[in-house]
Amino acid sequence: AQSVAQPEDQVKVAEGNPLTVKCTYSVSGNPYLFWYVQYPNRGLQFLLKYITGDNLVKGSYGFEAEFNKSQTSFHLKKPSALVSDSALYFCAVRDIGSNAGNMLTFGGGTRLMVKP
């Protein structure tokens, strides 16, 4: 079974400071990993994904995430936060093992609040 944990319900940072939103995962095979963002009353928007290769993945709006296999983590980062980054962030995983299905499993979400 595949699962995702986002240990922080909420992250608060000041505008201009770096931000990190944490994510750890569990799969039986190898993972495909995704970050999505949800603004109020909107659907989930894709930010970035890790498939293979370089552990540091760059995505939309200046976000990046680092895949760490030994720690089974895929933390989302941004060097300088903007107030407009305030939203709900979801990490998701798909297990690419031979018996895995195609479904995406989401973490519980982390609310990012960026203060001016």
């Binding site: 495909y32 995704f34 659907g43 894709f46 994904k49 299905g101 195609n102 989401f106 973490g107």
Partner: protein
């Protein structure tokens, strides 16, 4: 940019009534999904659909739920007899392929069961 569109945006219904939520996936996509998000909780997988049949479903997707692709464009989720606990935001998603392909989500349909 292509979008997944969902209707209605909000539906209020009485417990025990049937509800149909509609989705128009991106036109060249092949895999379709329904997820739900109860207020304040995580996004939960309900069902995936490929080649005109269900490919996976979660334990949430019991006999009260069904999905259909009645024509070449629509993908519907039906709840036969709604319960209070079905109140949630329901998201449709589609993707062009399996594996690493990115799911594109609609804006969601909020279902309120009274």
């Amino acid at each position: 940019e292509p979008e997944v569109t969902q209707t209605p945006s909000h539906q209020v219904t009485q417990m025990g009534q049937e509800v149909i939520l509609r989705c128009v996936p991106i036109s060249n996509h092949l895999y379709f999904y329904w997820y739900r998000q109860i207020l304040g909780q995580k996004v939960e997988f309900l069902v995936s659909f490929y080649n005109n049949e269900i490919s996976e479903k979660s334990e949430i997707f019991d006999d009260q739920f069904s999905v259909e692709r009645p024509d070449g464009s629509n993908f519907t989720l039906k709840i036969r007899s709604t319960k209070l606990e079905d109140s949630a935001m329901y998201f449709c998603a589609s993707t062009g392929g399996a594996g690493a392909n990115v799911l594109t989500f609609g804006a969601g349909s909020r279902l309120t069961v009274l």
